[in-house]
């Protein structure tokens, strides 16, 4: 397995050495790597305010171990990882399966060295935000977020911050939406910046909300709930499978299932399902390949008017108007 040692940072000093180590070069805001190792996009952007965004969407053609050893220890990396399939992320103190259905939101201090093991044939899909600690503290203060021991966190000599979590649905859709734009050019940059702002807004909101953090939930239960979530997403075109069946699947009582689901995703199973269904509907409408009634049928809505009313309730305008004004 090829081992590549590199660093990230809240400025662009890391880009060139990283590109060299990957055997590629920097071209504009892209890191171009020969296609026999990775195929796809690596895009970085300095967003100002000591924030750097880094977007990866590549097919990995070789087994690679990316070792992150940062030369600068003054920043925090927020990694949104929506890779389908298994990726192992580890350091001396933890080993973690990362990906869309595992932990997909990592907040890791730059002072920590990490290993990112990639298997050949897998696809990496992630959005990273590197932010200076001082900036983080400033944001946190401004947003009235009480990180426990904020000073400890922002002072790299005292402590390191690690956090594993699952990103909210909105964040997922934000990153997924980026995929639809062709990388490169000023408009793309605008979109990247926009995504950074929206993700941060979402992130800080989540941090400030006093809801039970996932780490407090029993690990097995968490896995089961995520499994049902995955099940729902994979069957997004079907009609809602009753709570009963899902609870049975998760091996829990119905009330426990409902409670835990809400705790972890912040939504009831039905709302979660419906919202994702509507996002799918929106995506299909945007593609402009199907009529409204075809989409309604495809997504197993009982009838068009029910679909239209749900769509309108969620997005604020009817599917027809949505298509007309695209």
């Amino acid at each position: 397995m090829k081992i590549i040692e590199h660093s990230y940072g809240a400025d662009l000093d890391w880009v060139k050495p990283f590109a060299n180590k990957l055997g590629g070069k920097v071209k504009g805001n892209f890191i171009i790597v020969p296609e026999d190792t990775f195929k796809g996009t690596r895009y970085f952007l300095d967003c100002g305010d000591d924030i750097v965004a880094y977007y990866v969407d590549v097919m990995n053609n070789k087994d690679v171990n990316l070792v992150q050893k940062n030369t600068k220890k003054d920043f925090i990396g927020i990694y949104y990882n929506i890779t389908e399939g298994d990726v192992k992320y580890s350091s001396d103190s933890f080993v973690l399966n990362v990906g869309r259905w595992k932990y997909n939101l990592l907040v890791i201090d730059s002072a920590l060295d990490t290993n990112y093991k990639i298997k050949a044939g897998s696809r990496s899909h992630a959005f990273c935000i590197f932010m200076k600690k001082t900036r983080m503290a400033y944001f946190a203060k401004k947003n009235n977020i009480n990180f426990k021991n904020l000073n400890k966190i922002t002072d790299s000599s005292k402590n390191t911050i690690i956090r594993f979590d699952r990103m909210s649905d909105e964040s997922y859709h934000l990153i997924e939406e980026l995929q639809r734009f062709k990388p490169g050019g000023p408009i793309y940059d605008l979109n990247i910046r926009a995504t950074v702002h929206l993700l941060l807004s979402n992130f800080f909101k989540k941090m400030s909300a006093t809801r039970i953090i996932i780490q407090t939930v029993n690990k097995l239960d968490l896995e089961r709930i995520i499994e049902t979530q995955m099940f729902l997403i994979n069957n997004i075109e079907e009609s809602f499978p009753s709570i009963e069946t899902m609870a049975l699947k998760a091996n829990m009582s119905e009330s426990k299932f409902k409670n835990l689901f809400k705790k972890i995703t912040g939504k009831t199973p039905n709302t979660f399902f419906m919202e994702n269904k509507l996002m799918e509907a929106k995506r299909l409408l945007e593609e402009n390949q199907f009529s409204v009634s075809q989409i309604s049928d495809r997504l197993s809505f009982t009838n068009n008017s029910y679909f239209a009313s749900k769509f309108k309730a969620h997005f604020g305008l009817s599917p027809k108007t949505f298509v007309n004004q695209l």
């Binding site: 401004k142 408009i187 926009a194 702002h197 997005f315």
Partner: protein, 341 residues
């Protein structure tokens, strides 16, 4: 009617004067809370990047007001996205323009070099987002696209056009809608608004600069269906033309739609396409040397009149079929070169 005058700048300073004049409260250099005698609501101003700022307004007025915007020195474009339930009025050069998503015209682009006034509707919720964008910055965005394409575009922002307006595209509409449900006093509102604003600007530029945005009118399913009928035609060249109703049924659409789409795809009507392909097959048959007479061939191709076939053939190749005809040779001069298996 109460009148206020104000001006815009990319930095928050302009708010002091307006807040003072209205008697509203200015919080944190960002939020102006509307005084009770005017109505209820607030505005939110934030600087996003150098050259781009956003002002979000969300209020219900009880007293009619008119906001006169003075022109100011800085070169700005104002993007006004309106999502109010009821149309508001923007006045430029003494002409009233109605604006609001309810009348399908929710987006206005105004140059800061021209004075304008804004009269929101009374007793209705007014929701508007204004982006202030540096002219230089915007021109740079636009410049990065090929000039020829730029000329073709719907919008050309130049100094002679004081005002441009249009409906808001769906995606932008959704983005502004999502602002409705957020509270400006929430800590995460600021980055959220920044993100939304940048996306809106991205959408706007995309819409007017990206030629790909032109809708692909034929869907994949339809193309597939049309291609299916085409293959059918090619497979049945020895038969008579199967009729448009038959083909359209096969493609699952009405005859008129079928004909239209067929023409779009292949630049020819189904029948003409069929005849053309038939004639191409005819040349092959003519030159094959497998037939004794032309009549044999035309029967093979399901024509009953030789003269009709000849006319069609001539139309396409400007030659008579007889010129291309190779008669069957009964005496085999050469031994067969291929090996029979």
């Amino acid at each position: 009617m109460k009148k206020f005058t104000h001006f815009y700048s990319l930095t928050p300073e302009w708010q002091y004067q307006l807040a003072k004049e209205m008697g509203g409260e200015l919080i944190d250099n960002k939020i102006i809370v509307l005084p009770e005698n005017l109505g209820e609501g607030h505005s939110f101003f934030t600087q996003i990047t150098p050259g781009i700022s956003a002002l979000f307004m969300d209020f219900v007025l009880t007293t009619p007001i008119k906001m006169n915007r003075l022109k100011s020195d800085n070169e700005l474009y104002i993007f006004h996205f309106d999502l109010s339930d009821h149309p508001s009025i923007i006045k430029i050069d003494n002409i009233d323009y109605k604006i609001g998503s309810s009348i399908n015209l929710g987006l206005a682009v105004i140059s800061n070099a021209i004075e304008s006034s804004f009269k929101p509707a009374i007793n209705e919720r007014t929701i508007a987002l204004r982006l202030l964008v540096d002219k230089k910055l915007l021109n740079e965005f636009i410049k990065n696209h090929p000039t020829e394409e730029y000329a073709k575009r719907k919008i050309k922002i130049d100094k002679n056009v004081p005002y441009y307006y249009d409906n808001i595209d769906s995606n932008s509409l959704l983005l502004i809608q999502s602002l409705k449900s957020k509270s400006v006093f929430d800590a995460s509102f600021d980055p959220y608004l920044k993100g939304i604003s940048l996306k809106l600007l991205g959408n706007f530029l995309n819409r007017y600069t990206d030629s790909v945005a032109v809708k692909n009118e034929i869907t994949e399913v339809e193309t597939e269906a049309i291609n299916k009928t085409k293959t059918y035609l090619l497979d049945h060249l020895y038969n008579p033309f199967p009729s448009v109703p038959f083909l359209s049924k096969m493609a699952g659409m009405s005859p008129s739609k079928y004909k239209m789409l067929f023409k779009k795809e292949f630049n020819s009507t189904p029948n003409n396409f069929f005849v053309q392909e038939k004639m191409l097959l005819a040349t092959k048959l003519l030159q094959s040397g497998d037939y004794n007479t032309l009549t044999e061939i035309i029967y093979e191709l399901n024509y009953s009149k030789l003269s009709y076939f000849c006319t069609k053939y001539y139309d396409l190749f400007h030659r008579k079929p007889s010129e291309d005809f190779v008669k069957k040779n009964r005496v085999i001069k050469k031994p067969e070169v291929y090996i029979k298996i």
